[in-house]
């Protein structure tokens, strides 16, 4: 069958839409990201991995918000926790004999998961939900920022902390990631792994229970599911991923400051995810990448007006297009498909 035949619309039949499935688009996007270093070099390749990690942060929020109906204003706190962990490990763990950066990735994920599990189970087992959960995560984010500022002998306070770039190692083999392209590929692999991991768990039975909790928590509870455990697990996974992304961000940016944990950055993540579409992982990823790229480009020109536009877009999205851009695309496709 030729290409022309396949796409031809038969008369009398409803127009056939070739449903482009999300993973196909995702693989396309990831492949495009993987090819970029061959086409570009310099600043674009340097800065893009940071935005991809913001995209991972956005996906971690989408898992919570879009799939389980829990909104967190504290994701940036976990992101910063990861970055600081990376910094501390690289500074102090040289003596252990293993690659400090690997250690940092494991510790940061464990720390994020542990904190989120503890706080999450503590709250969810008592039925704390909705707005109260938002406020608690907001407070977590403020606490993280305050600690980063206050414990300046450890974190460097307002001055921030410098972090050496990590290196890959496997027994004797060592590979420093000093060049922009090399760490770019490490992060692309991380982004791809995160995306497919999250896609897997959201489509598994686990994800179906989460959707149930989102739609009607009381009913899922009365069906016998241990809702607090599911919510805790989701929060823990989300926090662990945010922490790992933060650790990679730390080693890539080579610098971390308290504002990374702040409320403003936390809510920026919420804005990306809301505009891009809260119930699609790919949209969240792209939202994180695209919006932060645009922010960077425009903040040189009109920093204030761009933030204003973003705020207005955010309100419009929440008020009128709850699914965000992804929701609109989905509806458009469904409309055309009949």
């Amino acid at each position: 069958m030729t290409e022309a035949n396949r796409t031809r619309v038969l008369p009398g039949l409803p127009p056939q839409v070739r449903r482009v499935r999300e993973p196909v688009v995702a693989i396309g996007v990831l492949a495009l990201l993987a090819l970029l270093p061959l086409l570009f070099s310099g600043y674009v390749i340097y800065i893009l991995p940071q935005y991809m990690l913001f995209g991972v942060l956005a996906m971690s929020l989408a898992l919570l918000w879009g799939f389980c109906g829990m909104l967190s204003f504290g994701q940036a706190g976990f992101f910063a926790l990861g970055a600081y962990t990376m910094g501390l490990c690289v500074q102090h763990a040289g003596a252990v004999g293993v690659n400090a950066a690997y250690l940092a990735l494991v510790i940061s994920m464990a720390a994020g998961t542990a904190i989120a599990s503890a706080v999450g189970y503590f709250l969810f087992s008592a039925g704390v939900r909705d707005s109260y959960f938002v406020i608690v995560t907001l407070a977590l984010s403020i606490i993280a920022e305050q600690i980063a500022v206050g414990q300046s002998q450890i974190t460097g306070g307002w001055n921030g902390m410098f972090i050496p770039r990590m290196e890959l190692s496997l027994w004797r083999w060592k590979f420093p990631l000093d060049s922009d392209a090399s760490i770019y590929y490490v992060i692309v692999v991380f982004v791809a792994a995160t995306y497919f991991f999250l896609r897997w768990i959201t489509r598994a039975k686990f994800g179906k229970v989460l959707a149930g909790i989102r739609e009607n928590e009381d009913r899922v509870l009365s069906l016998g599911f241990k809702v607090p455990l599911y919510k805790t697990a989701t929060f823990a996974i989300s926090a662990g991923l945010a922490c790992m992304a933060g650790a990679l961000y730390g080693t890539h940016a080579a610098f971390v400051a308290p504002s990374l944990a702040g409320v403003l950055f936390s809510t920026e993540v919420v804005v990306w995810v809301a505009i891009a579409g809260r119930s699609s992982l790919l949209a969240a990823l792209l939202g994180g990448i695209v919006v932060s790229s645009i922010s960077n480009a425009l903040s040189a020109i009109t920093p204030q007006y761009w933030q204003l536009v973003l705020g207005v877009l955010f309100v419009l999205t929440v008020a009128f297009f709850r699914g965000g851009i992804a929701g609109a695309v989905h509806r458009f496709a469904a409309h055309r498909g009949g």
Partner: protein, 248 residues
């Protein structure tokens, strides 16, 4: 969530009006009315369509917060502003010195809370609000105009946040972010005290949150104090979600 921005806005309006030479009390009133007007517009244009969806309302007011903060930055700039303290100096009571202005504001705040509680518990509008909180559907069936009541509550809330911002402005330097920290504090004060416990709850909550912060700040740093208080508030939220003060 928008109340942080309301407070900031109140403080800036205060700065602008006192700068124009308006007397302090009048300026505070103008600022509060201005913020109340903003609240009215916000409620009428956006918020009233989203009652019954708390998470969306929260997001919308947060969006309002972002927009207002940016607008304030564009109009007023990001540099610190000072509002002149109208009553400098202090008086002594025994061995303790009290700054005049702070004491007066504290007194006024208590009076305001008591007045709000009186309105809430002793007047017709108060009983309407309480009916709305208990069961909006039944209240509307009994002939209560819920839209109007919600609007009244929202505008009053904005007015008070604006007033708080105006009154607090001489105590600190005004910058576009002063609302942030007060937002979380006030949220916790309300949660700790108990939602709907206007008199006892608000007073107990504010004293607990504010008082503990001051006490802990004496023995350790300000930062640690704030962290401990937030952590404690989370614990209270877990074990007494209905608040410390409960009726019945």
């Amino acid at each position: 969530m928008g109340h942080g921005a309301m407070l900031t806005l109140g403080a800036y309006l205060m700065w602008a009006t006192t700068k124009m030479g308006v007397a302090f009390v009048l300026a505070a009133l103008i600022s509060a009315l201005g913020v109340g007007l903003v609240g009215l517009l916000l409620e009428h244009i956006v918020i009233r369509h989203f009652y019954g969806e708390p998470l969306e309302t929260l997001l919308l007011t947060w969006g309002f917060f972002l927009i207002t903060t940016e607008l304030i930055k564009i109009v007023f700039g990001t540099d610190l502003r000072e509002v002149v303290n109208p009553l400098p100096g202090s008086f002594e009571l025994g061995t303790v010195r009290f700054p005049v202005y702070r004491s007066l504001v504290a007194l006024f705040a208590v009076v305001l809370i008591v007045a709000a509680a009186l309105v809430f518990y002793k007047t017709r509008i108060g009983i309407r609000i309480r009916a709305l909180m208990q069961n909006a559907e039944v209240a509307s069936l009994l002939g209560l105009n819920i839209q109007l009541t919600y609007k009244f509550v929202f505008v009053t809330g904005s007015f008070m946040a604006g007033l708080a911002g105006a009154l607090i402005s001489p105590m600190l330097s005004v910058d576009p972010y002063i609302g942030n920290i007060f937002l979380v504090r006030s949220f916790f004060a309300v949660t700790v005290g108990g939602v709907g416990q206007l008199l006892g709850g608000t007073l107990a909550g504010s004293f607990l949150v504010g008082g503990m912060e001051t006490v802990f700040a004496l023995v350790s740093s300000q930062v640690v104090a704030q962290t401990i208080v937030f952590a404690l508030a989370i614990v209270i939220l877990r074990f007494r979600p209905q608040g410390v003060v409960t009726s019945r």
